[in-house]
């Protein structure tokens, strides 16, 4: 039984990372109906920057965190301006390609700057596992779970309590009406995109000690996070955390008890099934369009 908990707990930590990335898709989808298709590359960039700052330049982890989040936010503003905004008005989905193109650039640039070989990054709170009963858990994993929970609570408060958060929700509902009410729709859209990028950077910062720093770090993470966002519902941030944790645990159990190779195949098939049964997501409400 302890094997079960052991695996499930480490799975939940991975799931918390998925949730953090997945909510980034939700952020931009709600305000622009557009997504950053290369969000995984932004996670990678966050991870590589973390590696650069902590390992190569011996920054304090908290300083590194602040720099990573700020840098990705700023880059997000720039990327939105050049790779999303020009195409939103065109009314077609070409931003799918432009956001991917930015991701391609990032991978190759990362390979040029940091090389292809995977490098370890030391965990923030040491390498010695903590024992909860017989179950061993890495401090980094607990940190990730805690960080994800705090982030989601903060996001919830942001949406419900702050003026900007309410503006986000208003734009999500109707961009046109919001701009008539004096909300700077453009700014909300840009900020939501940059916030998703910053969250991806945060996820990269948290996950890189568990994986390795390498340019391919984020590709699959980004894809799985999207599967989770769809299963939960792109417009349901709370559901995304729950689904993320559950998905992480389930995935770890599949690898633990069956076979790692089948893990992603099952996960994505689950997404396609969920989409078929409940297109608006397990936690989403059906949207009624207007005529």
């Amino acid at each position: 039984m302890y094997f079960f908990f052991q695996i499930a707990l480490s799975g939940i930590a991975t799931g918390a990372i998925y949730g953090l990335i997945a909510v980034g898709y939700s952020l931009t989808y709600m305000t622009t109906k557009a997504l950053n298709f290369a969000l995984g590359m932004w996670v990678m960039l966050g991870g590589m920057l973390t590696y650069s700052l902590i390992v190569l330049h011996a920054f304090h982890p908290l300083a590194a965190l602040a720099i990573v989040v700020a840098a990705l936010f700023a880059l997000g503003i720039v990327a939105e301006r050049f790779s999303v905004m020009p195409f939103l008005r065109a009314g077609s989905d070409v931003w799918v390609m432009s956001t991917l193109a930015v991701g391609f650039l990032m991978i190759d640039l990362a390979e040029i700057v940091w090389g292809r070989s995977p490098t370890p990054v030391p965990p923030l709170l040491g390498k010695n596992p903590i024992y909860i009963g017989p179950v061993a858990v890495l401090p980094q994993q607990l940190l990730i779970i805690a960080a994800a929970c705090v982030t989601f609570i903060a996001l919830d408060l942001f949406y419900r309590r702050t003026l900007l958060g309410k503006a986000f929700r208003a734009v999500a509902h109707s961009g046109e009406t919001s701009s008539l009410m004096g909300i700077d729709t453009r700014r909300v859209q840009a900020v939501s995109y940059a916030a998703a990028a910053a969250l991806a950077g945060f996820a990269g910062f948290l996950v890189v000690p568990l994986t390795l720093a390498e340019p391919q770090l984020g590709t699959v993470l980004g894809l799985k996070a999207f599967a989770i966002a769809i299963i939960a519902g792109l417009a349901a941030p709370r559901g995304i955390l729950i689904c993320g944790l559950a998905y992480g645990a389930l995935e770890a159990l599949i690898s633990g008890y069956f076979y790692t190779g089948i893990r992603d195949i099952l996960g994505f098939s689950l997404m396609i099934l969920a989409l078929f049964l409940k297109p608006e997501g397990l936690f989403g409400k059906p949207v009624e369009e207007r005529a």
Partner: protein, 597 residues
């Protein structure tokens, strides 16, 4: 459709492609040609989906893999049998089966992914590509894992084995066939419907077409092209591995479509050719492959938003617009509408709320067949909601819909249209740059019996039907007075003409009851007068008309009966003259003296 100057150019290019190999020594260029043609076939399939129907897929490499691996496994298994070794039939079985398997997987993917609009399809296809890639890697006993499958039989017909030089002509022929199929498809009635969903899915379903099924069909057709290309790829390379079908290849195909010109007949050809040949030239820069592609994608999207072919087509379209004369009021020459048996509509005790807002509260609404029934009320009274509920656009909270005396369930907009109830929209929903005639033909599609395959093989019944529909469409266009704009793109029509076009399109469905949602909004006095004339003629032909309108003069002058809604409740119902004097109605519109105090 806009590429008129192109045919002789295409002929010239084709002649060059046939003759050139005879003059070029070695097999390198023939080989390159085969690759371009194969990628071209896949790109044509993706163009039908992404270019014409506007649905982006980033999983076409995986669909191609389905075709390639299917034929590889089948032909390798059958090759030792003497019958097949002698006839080469296993190759062509493999090609057919591979195409079908890809199409089947396309359906499996499209059914869930297309239930939702937006970017879902693109992302789900990425995930699908990943799953297929993983399966190819992991299922070693069947797929050979990372090493892939080798010694796949070469293409063979009877005892003749194709080498690169002769296979070139086979693939060229198939490639030209693929282009012709695309052309036939796009120029068919089905093609018009496909074009229309890119512009407004709601409007397409309002003329009785099941948009979801149509999109799935398009995806399946597109997947079949990809699978077909994959089978040819397998027999050309004689070796397939997961690396051939990575995510990056899917991006390659979509880029080929966008670069060449999404939604143009020859665009995917140009895209596939340039993108296949460019890396051959830039081999030295392979280290920066992703950077080069990333920049190429961004530059294409910025500077060639409509692709290479789009540049040419744009110029012609602009010329067409400038020739348009000044706008005149329509409906001077009423064509003869066929007589219709109008149906009655009853909404019994219907309610509908959105969250805390009750838009309709226990509303009873009864429309007699063959009458003009106006529905009026201040803004926000629930008029449009009532139309939405009656046409299945919103589900009912409670209550009953009775059509033609029978209790009916209306599940969706297209379901309503199939039951004879057709609507227009307060905010005009047209199909972008499609012409006036094409709009009305999409409306006619509802009653077409011939399928695409009848049209593709040119069956006589299909041709007759197409001719009949063309006649009907022209009559309707002249009925609303737009005859001289038949070939004008809808987005360059004057506002009033757009309203009339929407009515003509709705009439093409042969409605028994027509719901007009504020048809006079934004029209000038003359146009409103003409509109009134048109609506009266509709009644004369037998059609029941429900008119949601603010323009009181129009309402009073043409309606047989008027129902007034206010805050989701019916406050008056009767002949127009009575409504004009009704105190509650006057109060609802002007406010009561008490309310001001």
């Amino acid at each position: 459709m806009t590429e008129r100057g192109v045919p002789w150019l295409v002929g010239l290019a084709l002649a060059a492609l046939i003759i050139l190999p005879a003059f070029v020594p070695g097999t390198y260029y023939s080989f390159l040609g085969i690759v371009v043609f194969i990628y071209g076939i896949v790109a044509v399939g993706l163009n039908i989906l992404a270019g014409y129907a506007g649905q982006f897929s980033l999983g076409h490499a995986a669909l191609m893999a389905m075709g390639a691996y299917t034929t590889a496994l089948l032909t390798k298994a059958l090759a030792p049998l003497p019958f097949f070794a002698a006839t080469g039939l296993h190759i062509w079985f493999g090609v057919v089966l591979g195409t079908l398997v890809a199409a089947a997987f396309g359906a499996l993917l499209a059914f869930p992914a297309l239930r939702v609009r937006g970017p879902y399809l693109a992302m789900v296809t990425i995930a699908f590509g990943w799953v297929i890639f993983k399966i190819l890697q992991e299922w070693v006993s069947v797929t050979g894992g990372d090493l892939g499958l080798s010694s796949i039989p070469k293409a063979q017909l009877g005892p003749y084995l194709f080498d690169t030089g002769s296979f070139y002509y086979v693939v060229l022929g198939l490639f030209v066939a693929a282009l012709m199929i695309q052309r036939r498809l796009i120029n068919s009635e089905l093609g018009l419907r496909i074009l229309a969903i890119k512009h407004s899915e709601i409007a397409v379903s309002s003329v009785g077409i099941n948009v979801y099924r149509l999109k799935v069909l398009v995806f399946v057709i597109s997947a079949a092209f990809a699978g077909f290309g994959g089978t040819l790829f397998a027999h050309q390379q004689n070796y397939v591995s997961p690396d051939n079908f990575q995510f990056f290849s899917s991006v390659f195909f979509l880029l080929a479509v966008l670069f060449g010109g999404a939604g143009t007949l020859m665009g995917p050809v140009i895209g596939a050719a340039v993108l296949t040949i460019l890396p051959e030239i830039l081999q030295d820069f392979d280290k920066f492959r992703l950077i080069i592609y990333g920049c190429f994608i961004l530059l294409t999207l910025y500077f060639l938003p409509n692709g290479v072919m789009g540049l040419l087509a744009d110029r012609k379209l602009r010329a067409a617009r400038s020739k348009m004369g000044p706008t005149v009021v329509g409906a001077k020459s009423p064509g003869n509408l066929p007589t219709t048996v109008g149906v009655g509509l009853q909404l019994n005790n219907i309610s509908k709320s959105f969250g805390g807002l009750q838009a309709l509260r226990d509303v009873n609404f009864r429309v007699e067949p063959g009458t003009i029934h106006a529905l009026i009320g201040p803004n926000g009274a629930g008029k449009t909601t009532l139309i939405n509920v009656a046409t299945g656009f919103y589900p009912l909270d409670s209550g009953e819909i009775v059509i033609d005396g029978r209790a009916a369930t209306v599940r969706s907009l297209h379901d309503a249209a199939r039951q004879g109830i057709v609507r227009t929209f307060q905010t005009i929903k047209l199909f972008g740059n499609m012409t006036v005639l094409e709009h009305v033909l999409v409306g006619c599609a509802r009653h077409s019996r011939a399928g695409y395959f009848d049209a593709a093989i040119g069956r006589k019944s299909a041709r007759n039907e197409a001719a009949r529909n063309l006649d009907t469409a022209r009559e309707l266009i002249s009925f609303v007075g737009l005859a001289r704009y038949e070939n004008v793109p809808a987005n360059s029509l004057a506002y009033g003409h757009r309203r009339l076009l929407e009515i003509a399109r709705a009439l093409a469905v042969r409605p028994q009851l027509l719901l007009l949602d504020e048809p006079a909004a934004g029209l000038v006095a003359e146009e409103i007068h003409a509109l009134g004339h048109i609506i009266r003629q509709l009644r004369a032909s037998g059609i029941t008309v429900v008119l949601v309108e603010h323009h009181m003069e129009l309402v009073i002058s043409i309606s047989d009966r008027v129902t007034v809604l206010d805050y989701g409740v019916v406050i008056a119902d009767g002949p127009p003259t009575a409504i004009q004097r009704d105190e509650r109605v006057i109060a609802a519109y002007l406010g009561t003296p008490h309310a001001a105090a």
